[in-house]
Amino acid sequence: MKRFLVLCVALVTALAVYCPVSARGREAGNLNDMRYEVRLGWGGYPVADVINFVDRNCGGYFGGRSLSSIYGDYSGPVYMTGVISAEFDFVLRRWFTLSLGIGWNGIRGETHDGVTSSLKSKDSGYVATFLPQARFTYFSREYFKMYSAVGLGLSYGQFRGRAVISPCFHTVPFGIMAGGRVFGFAELALGMLNIGATAGIGVRF
């Protein structure tokens, strides 16, 4: 893990200090010359978190339920916020951006007594993910871009007495960003962080 982080820092530093001659000649104030982005986003279905933290009571026999599963303590509905993410991005090339992001998914639920159905406890938890991503921009205009991304990070979560540390492999097969210094973005995510549509806003500087 430590070597991985050192390698990331070295890569960012090497790419940051090497500027092509053509980039220096651009008109000052061009959005594509801005080297940094900050993004805030939300969305997608956190399938890995659901698998890790939601135990489905499928019972044993009698068509799927044993007496113990019928009358034991049971879980009420479980809710998740979805992944709320914050990123700091290094625009190293017009076609390549290194993103360092943190995602947070909140979890809540209730546990009930199996015989009386009375509330026994209110449960809450979270999953936090550190996710560096490599973003590849294959269509770039000043106010509109299309890209894909891939990343590998680490997740830590806890809920109902269970703590899970797991790797997080994530991809964005398709993403777009539109706007000027302040922009909006939308992505189709497919990975261990979440699956589905995510969106958000960002600032370039």
Partner: protein
Amino acid sequence: MCLVVFLAVSCRVYKGDNHADSYILEETSENLFAGYVSAPVIFVDWMQDFNGYLFGENGSWNDIAGVNVVQTGEHAYHIDGFGLVDTGGKSLDDPGSVWSITAESYARWTGFSSLQCFGTANDEPLAVTVTCGSENMWELSASSQSGHADLAVTKHDYEIGNGTYEARGDGSFDDGDYSAVFSIGPEGLTIVRDDAGVMYGSFKVEFMSGEQKLDTCVMSFYGNEQSFTTSRD
């Protein structure tokens, strides 16, 4: 304020566990009835045909498509798709005869009158001991790993594939910290072994935790129809 916003955007990812409600009580009662009452009675009906093949004049057993019978011991037989039958060398209708039946596990019981029916629905092997008390009357003892039932069965107006049986008795099912105690109603249970599955009578289940009664479910049969009354209605 942020927490309120975050909670407001939560979505449900799991509807919650199944737990005791009227539907689950009905379903569990149905399975207990099927496994420990109607299945043993139907086995007696099936064994009438096998008994006729072994000890009677009509040897038509092997005419039934897809059913193979292999003799595995002096008086023991394996019936394909059903299980093991040990006759003890006596006809099922002889007073004092004892037949031992073991319905195969991991099989599905369809409730049909043909011999392509199988064992129990709960994937536990069901052993049934059938003891002939007198003409057309048997004592049944049905047991699996977790449950047991004692039944008295009387046959009325029997014809091949269309017998009428009256059953009385009770039993229990043990699941560790919880159990179910069940019984046929005082008026008895009448089962007509035709394709319509006609039944009359009632079947009561009490769900227990130790000595504490948690719930009840009563199944009432009116011919082709049945109704449920549970403590969670």
